[in-house]
Structures are given as C-alpha cells and as structure tokens.
C-alpha cells in the first residue's frame, strides 16, 4: 500500500488562528448575554469544522458534513441574531462560500396558486446559495388541516436541496419548541436531515437587565439608578403577563420610555442634551405592565 500523504501532522491551533473563528466566538461571548447551551453548541460545531479541515489536510476523506440546524426557543431569545453570527462563523471556516444570511418566512416560500410555489421556493434557495437560509417559524410551512396546502410542496423542494446541495447552503429552521417538535413529527424526512437541534433558553431577569443596559448604551444613553430599578420591577411584572417576548419586550419598553423621555424634555424645555435616561423613574413603564 502506498501512502501518498505529504502532511503527517496538522497544527490544530494554527488552523484555528488562521480561520479567525476565535474572534467570532469571542465576539459572540461578549455581545450575547446568557445563552450558555447555545454558545457551547456553536463552539462544538466550530471545533468540528476545524477538525474536519485538519483531517482533509491529512488526506482522510470524511463524509460531507450536514450542518442544517434547528433553533427552538421562545420569542426574543436571540435566534435570528445567532443565525446571523452562524453565517459569519461558517463563512470563516470555509463551510459556506459567501456567508450571507437570507431570512424568510412561509410567505416567501409558499405560493398562492398551483404552480406558484416551486419557482418561488427555488428563487429563495438560489439567493441563499453560498450562505445561510434562515426560515423563521418554519412550522407554518406544514398545515395538516389543509391537505392541498402548497406548503408541502415547498418542504419537498427544500428537502431535496438540503440533501443534494449540502455544500451550497445551510438551512436553519427556527420556531417555538413545541410546534417545531410537532412539525418534525409530521415531517420525518425533514427531521432526519436536520442534525443540530439547539434550544434557546429564556433569559433570567438579571440577564434581561444586562441586555437593556447594552441597548441603552447602544443609543448613547445610560440608565439612572432609579430607572434601572424601575426597569427591574417592570421585567419581573412583565414576565407574568401573556406574550412576553424576552429581549424584544425589553426593547419595546425602552422604546416607549424614549418617547416619554422626549416628551418630558420638551415640556421641561430642558434641552441640555442630558444623557441621563429617565430620572427619578418617571419614564419607567412599571404602571403599564401592571395594567
């Protein structure tokens, strides 16, 4: 048996440095608060890709990787944000060629009349090639109550491309946990093609406050101690209300507070560009959450 291998050892650390994936992972750690299981999983996937690269360099032919993923979690837990980062990570590791993210929902894939669905789905798939296709609320694709729903057609085309063109694009499905599970139960073909299931946990109150701090800082403002306390109370109250959407609820609360701050500044004729966000808790939306 002849051994044609030229390289005998591969420096994994060097490969890791070369791909600059460590930067993205650090950024992920820095920018995203909480989400421990998600970060662990992404690290695993990144490591796997680096190892695969090394194996390739050593001449060990591995099976092409299937990196289609499913993100489950409640609204506002950062699924889209992580998907965006995922595209970047996969691009740096050379798994996808361009690293762009195409985010779609049912409307973008499913047509309105017979023969409309296939071209529509293919169009989207073509745009996503070389990058990541993110299908938000993927379970809407399948409507069991309507046998002739065109969603099934979209699923079939999707599955075909997911299987045959694995190196051209990565598909990420996202949605609520329970409904996603039901979706996979009724589409076993889809379930077997999605290898990575990542569950996004809800944020704790403390994490949500940290996120709020980031958002406010991003606006070039800061929370006064009173406002921060009021926001803490608000988050605790809001959590018990229906339609709580984690970070998105916090963002909405902050947006409303900005409105009130603007009004207060105008009424007080105090345009000294005060950078304090909400003094004495007047802008905090605690009352709103209670009603």
């Amino acid at each position: 048996m002849t051994d044609t291998r030229v390289v005998e050892t591969v420096d994994l650390q060097a490969l890791l440095r070369e791909s600059r994936v460590a930067d993205v992972l650090d950024e992920l750690d820095r920018d995203l608060i909480g989400l421990k299981p998600v970060k662990t999983r992404i690290r695993e996937i990144a490591s796997l890709l680096v190892v695969e690269k090394a194996r390739e360099a050593l001449g060990v032919a591995g099976a092409p990787l299937s990196l289609h993923m499913c993100f489950t979690g409640n609204p506002g837990t950062g699924k889209t944000t992580v998907a965006m980062r995922m595209a970047e990570i996969l691009h740096r590791l050379g798994h996808v060629r361009k690293g762009h993210l195409v985010a779609v929902t049912r409307d973008d894939l499913v047509g309105q009349y017979i023969g409309h669905t296939a071209p529509k789905t293919k169009e989207v798939l073509k745009k996503a090639m070389g990058g990541v296709l993110f299908i938000d609320e993927a379970y809407y694709l399948y409507r069991p109550e309507n046998e002739r729903d065109y969603g099934q057609e979209a699923i079939e085309i999707l599955m075909q491309v997911m299987e045959n063109q694995r190196d051209d694009l990565v598909v990420i499905l996202a949605g609520y946990k329970s409904r996603m599970d039901r979706f996979f139960e009724s589409n076993p073909g889809m379930a077997s093609r999605v290898a990575h299931h990542i569950d996004f946990p809800d944020y704790s109150d403390g994490e949500l406050l940290q996120i709020a701090g980031r958002m406010v800082a991003g606006l070039g403002l800061r929370l006064s101690p009173d406002a921060a306390r009021a926001l803490g109370e608000y988050v605790a109250l809001r959590r018990r209300q229906p339609n709580f959407a984690n970070a998105r609820s916090v963002r909405n609360a902050l947006d409303r507070a900005r409105l009130r701050q603007a009004r207060r500044l105008i009424e007080a004729a105090d345009i000294r560009a005060s950078r304090v966000f909400g003094s004495a808790g007047t802008d905090a939306p605690v009352k709103e959450a209670a009603c």
């Binding site: 060629r97 361009k98 762009h100 071209p119 293919k122 798939l125 073509k126 745009k127 090639m129 070389g130 990058g131 063109q165 051209d168 694009l169």
Partner: protein
C-alpha cells in the same frame, strides 16, 4: 459549423467549473445573470428565449449552475447562453454573454443571392438545419 458568438467563443467550450467561476466574477461586479436558449443561432436572431427570470440578488454562482443543469435537462439540444447585465448608470446593458451549451450537431448557414429592383443584388443568410 461551430457558432462563435459572445465572449470566449473562440476558446474550447468552458467546463462547468469555469462557467461557475465566470459567473462568480459577474456577480462580484454586481451584474445580474440570466440564462437564455435558442435553436436558431442566426446572428440576427437577437431574441433568444429566456429560461426563467434574470436572477437578481444572487450571491453565489451555485444558483445559476442549478438552473443551468435544469435548463440542460430540458433543452440539452439547444444553444444556451449566460448573460450578465450591468444596471449601473451609463452602462445599463449586457457586460458579458457567453455560450454554455451547444447541440451535438450544429446548424450551418446558406448565403443566398437575390436580385432586387434595378438589378440590385442582395445577400441573405439563412440557417440550414439537418
């Protein structure tokens, strides 16, 4: 008779890999690519049939290659070309166009002479099939 139309037509036929690279270049320039096919390669036949719509917002050549495979399945015995359209002001035209598929047996042309009024002589070119 080997038809020479568009870019690269005096070179040997491009392989799929080469086509993908050329398309990748067009996309990197921000041009929109599209596929067209015809069975009549007459030089004056400028209106080839479109295979689907031009692929706007494409990022990677894989999208066009998928369509090309589909198109070959249906019209493998026709001429297929890739067009790259530049929409920037001042150009607004095709920047690149090249043939990516030919029939096994290519048609030839007949040059016909016709007498016109006042003993004028006109020449016309006709595609000869078969």
């Amino acid at each position: 008779m080997r038809i020479t139309q568009g870019t690269f037509s005096f070179l040997p036929d491009l392989t799929d890999e080469q086509v993908a690279k050329q398309v990748g270049y067009a996309l990197s320039q921000g041009w929109a690519v599209s596929l067209e096919h015809t069975d009549d390669p007459h030089p004056r036949n400028v209106y080839w049939e479109m295979w689907g719509l031009p692929m706007f917002d494409l990022k990677d050549a894989a999208g066009l290659m998928t369509e090309l495979r589909e198109c070959r399945k249906v019209f493998g015995d026709r001429y297929i070309k890739v067009n790259a359209f530049d929409s920037t002001l001042g150009f607004e035209t095709m920047r690149m166009s090249f043939i990516v598929n030919r029939p096994v047996k290519e048609p030839s042309f007949t040059l016909r002479r016709a007498d016109g009024p006042g003993r004028n002589v006109r020449y016309e070119l006709e595609t000869r099939r078969g």
